[in-house]
Symmetry: C2
Subunit: 382 residues, 2 copies
């Protein structure tokens, strides 16, 4: 293969990928949740990229964020307009190099992209769960993935990595299964959601509750609570961008108003409406309720109240990354994780990436983010 | 009067006050708005505190914020549970000392606390304006107050002062009527609303639009769009507090959930719901739409694009105050005003008050805020 062809391969990204699924916890062997309620059967939809090596030592588990799914990279069909949500990071020659590593990502339980969630059929009633779906936690999401890894015969992962809620799952993995995680990379995340984070989630939920179409969570087959979910998403998008990025991207630029008196005046309004409208076509409002609650409940300082104590059993080496302009998961929250790990004598690398892009930076092309991860994967494993 | 009695007077605050009103722009002499539309008649509800002196040189015009009204201090009735919104600042011996100054505050046009707004009767139809109310701007609010001052025979004010949107009005006064303003105190404000500020306002408006009770703005005499307005207010409250204040005030403290499965889990949720519920009992959703739009449109850099050029005619001396933890109207936005004033050779004092309270700090008891204002009022007038 000459170098021109190599470059073309790189540019083409991962190529085609197929979603897979695994169903477990069939009644009467249901899955016991952290709440002690049971759930089953559970289907996890997942995707894999690259090939597992002979000793199974090259597995990277990618954890998605609130609105993410199993489709990390590549396309399901050549005609797909866009590749998976972390395509810039996963593929041949990329930071999570699929020529070297076997990358797995599963849609979380409670989700709406194939895995069992509130829109799934409740075997007890033959209808969608809706609000009969049990409360789920980050611990439950991790535990369900543990079933998947067992099914795939993977005893230990080389690395678990994710941003935002994905970072919560990565952190939880390293705590729950210290012997099964060699490296952990929590990005733009926290050990416990802040009061402000809970507050933004709550307002989003209230917007969904207030939508008459939501109908107590029983809207499947009828009109979706699109306006409520769109408002929740708009709030989210404001928190994902830094004030400075909003200023540079939109400033006070006006839009042509057309005939609609309630139409947007400013480009930033138009952007938010577009993001809201786009989101409701792919996401389930009840999943939004359940997953934001899982984030609210996330608190790695519990039960002892001490993060240092709770992280005492961790064996993984860590790369903790924050972004300077991320005001939703500010750097000080990453530093709390770093401090607690160091107090336990853990091997921790910490980097705050200087960027204007705010929380969203973990989803954006970044040479610095890629090289930090590449180097960590290469050198942290002796 | 002995000193004990003096203290008691201070503690008692301003005492009783009555709302007054002034109606002008009766058809056919209607008020011409910045948009060139006309509006009339216009009623402004206002309150006054203290006594005007013989040469009328002791007038302080207080400008209220988005959700404020004319009731700045004291009580309408001895049984009122709370005094006016800036009682800590206005009264005998306070920063705006009613033993010395004659303080005026008017509810803005577009408002819903007595002044003409979308809930007022449209003389053309005999019904509430609703969305037939014309678009209003900060300039229009200031111009309406100019009519009130003319009516009261006040040619020049000693000082115009306000926080947040009140600061926008104070700034506009000093620009529109340089000869009628001796001192100006814009607090926690900006010369133009940021993209992020517009974004938060827009999500609040979308929540109101999405409430079926809103009904295109025609809900008077029927059910109010309370859930939409409550959501808008919740979003506002998150932006008024700093992340750190939220952490100290609520942290991750849980509430007793009671029987309601959709009830709040965390104290911060309970606080937001309370604030939302309280607000909808006193505020009109259409006023919220119009006033947030007026804030969005506010841009003192226009028409020239240069704030320095637009502030060139200002004659007032300025005290500009920001709060270190205010992320809705951050200090750099106050500094832009200060810089533009100084480039015009204006007399400007600037202070960033170190506080954790965020944007809300301008409404809270603060010895530093009081003494800055007291000193400025005393020494800035030769």
């Amino acid at each position: 293969m000459n170098s021109v062809t190599e470059k073309e391969t790189e540019r083409a990204g991962y190529g085609l990928v197929e979603a897979q699924s695994y169903t477990f916890a069939e009644p009467p062997n249901e899955f016991r949740l952290a709440s002690q309620e049971t759930l089953g059967p559970i289907t996890l939809v997942y995707e894999t990229y690259g090939r597992i090596n002979s000793d199974g030592s090259n597995v990277i588990l990618v954890e998605h964020a609130l609105s993410g799914d199993a489709h990390v990279a590549g396309r399901h069909d050549p005609s797909d307009p866009k590749p998976g949500w972390w395509d810039m990071m996963v593929g041949p020659g990329k930071a999570l190099d699929t020529d070297k590593y076997f990358v797995i990502c599963a849609n979380c339980i409670g989700g709406c992209s194939g895995s069992t969630g509130p829109a799934s059929i409740n075997p007890a009633t033959g209808r969608e769960y809706g609000l009969d779906f049990p409360v789920i936690t980050i611990a439950d999401m991790v535990e369900a993935e543990r079933y998947l890894l067992d099914h795939l015969g993977i005893q230990q992962v080389l690395c678990v990595i994710g941003g935002s809620m994905g970072g919560m799952k990565a952190l939880h993995w390293a705590v729950s299964y210290p012997d099964r995680v060699r490296l952990a990379v929590p990005i733009a995340t926290t050990s416990r959601l802040s009061a402000q984070g809970i507050a933004f989630n709550e307002v989003g939920r209230q917007a969904i509750f207030a939508d008459p179409a939501w109908n107590g969570g029983q809207y499947y087959g009828k009109e979706n609570p699109s306006s409520g979910l769109a408002i929740a998403r708009m709030i989210g998008h404001i928190t994902y961008l830094s004030e400075n990025t909003m200023h540079r991207k939109f400033g006070r630029k006006r839009v042509e108003n057309g005939e609609d008196a309630n139409g947007p005046d400013f480009e930033v309004e138009s952007y938010l409406r577009y993001q809201g409208d786009k989101f409701v076509r792919r996401f389930d409002a009840n999943s939004y309720l359940y997953i934001t609650k899982a984030m609210d409940y996330f608190d790695m300082t519990q039960p002892s109240g001490s993060l240092t104590r709770e992280l005492a059993g961790v064996k993984a080496k860590f790369l903790v990354i924050s972004f300077s302009s991320d005001w939703l998961f500010p750097t000080y929250q990453s530093k709390e994780i770093v401090k607690a790990l160091r107090q336990n004598g853990a091997h921790v690398t910490f980097a705050e990436i200087q960027t204007d892009y705010g929380h969203d930076a973990f989803l954006l092309e970044s040479r610095q983010l890629s090289s930090l991860i590449t180097n960590f994967l290469t050198y942290a494993v002796e």
